[in-house]
Amino acid sequence: MSTLHTVNKSPFATRDLQSCLDHCRDGDAVLMIEDGVYGALAGTAVSDAVSARAGALKIYVLTPDVNARGLPEARLSDVVTGVDYDGFVDLVTSHDRTQAWL
C-alpha cells in the first residue's frame, strides 16, 4: 500500500514540497509537475531536503514540464527520475492512491 504524491508548485515560492516530504511514508512516490519541477534542480537552496528523502522515497519529475522551463537534464538531481504523461498515468495506477499537495 503506497501513495503517489503530486507537487505542482515551486519549492522556492511555497512550502508545499516540504510539507509533502514531511508527510510521505517510506515506499511512497513523489511526482513533481508544473512549477513543481523546479524541485528537481540540483545544487539549490532546497535540493538537500529532496536528496535527504530520496532513499526512502521514489522521486519523479514530469519531463515535458522540465523542458518547457528550459532546465537541462544535466542540472537535475541524480535522485530524480523523468517521466512523460504516460509515465504519470502508470504511476497513478501502480500506487494505491494519489494525493495532490495543492
Binding site: 503506497s2 501513495t3 510539507s19 514531511d22 508527510h23 511514508r25 492512491r97 494525493q99 499537495w101
Partner: protein, 135 residues
C-alpha cells in the same frame, strides 16, 4: 473492496483569503449524504480554519466557521488537526472552536470531534485512505 470507502478531505489553506476552505466545506456537507467513512485533516495553514472568534463583519464576507460545529449532526466526527502545524503558528488546541458530536454507539454521549495528532500519525491517517481530496 467493501462498499464503504474511506474519504479524507485535506485542508491546508487559511480561510477567507481564498475560497478553498469554504468550498471544501461545501463538499463535506454534500458528501455526508453518501454513506462513506469520512475524515477531515487540518494541517499547515488549514488549522487556521478552526480558530474560534472569527468575525467577518469588517470584511463583508460570510463567516462560515460555525458550519464546522454542525458537521457532527451529519456524522462527520473525525477532525484530525496536526500538532506541529498548530505549534509553528503559535496556536494550541485552546485557540480552536469546540466541535463535538453525539456518539450513537455510546448512549449519545457528547464527544470532541477534534483530535490533535502528531505529524507521523497524520501521515499514517493519510496513507489509510481510499480517496484523498485536497483543498
Amino acid at each position: 473492496m467493501s462498499d464503504i470507502k474511506k474519504f479524507l478531505y485535506v485542508n491546508r489553506r487559511a480561510p477567507y483569503g481564498t475560497i478553498y476552505a469554504l468550498e471544501s466545506l461545501e463538499v463535506v456537507l454534500i458528501g455526508a449524504a453518501f454513506d462513506q467513512d469520512v475524515s477531515l485533516a487540518f494541517l499547515d495553514d488549514g488549522v487556521f480554519q478552526l480558530t474560534k472568534g472569527q468575525n467577518t463583519d469588517g470584511i463583508g464576507v460570510k463567516n462560515f466557521s460555525p458550519t464546522f460545529r454542525a458537521l457532527g449532526d451529519y456524522e462527520v466526527t473525525k477532525f484530525y488537526v496536526e500538532r506541529e502545524s498548530l505549534a509553528e503558528r503559535g496556536l494550541t488546541e485552546a485557540d480552536l472552536q469546540e466541535i463535538t458530536y453525539e456518539d450513537e454507539d455510546d448512549d449519545w454521549a457528547e464527544k470532541p470531534s477534534i483530535r490533535v495528532v502528531g505529524r507521523d500519525e497524520m501521515a499514517a491517517i493519510m496513507a489509510d485512505q481510499d480517496v484523498v481530496l485536497s483543498f
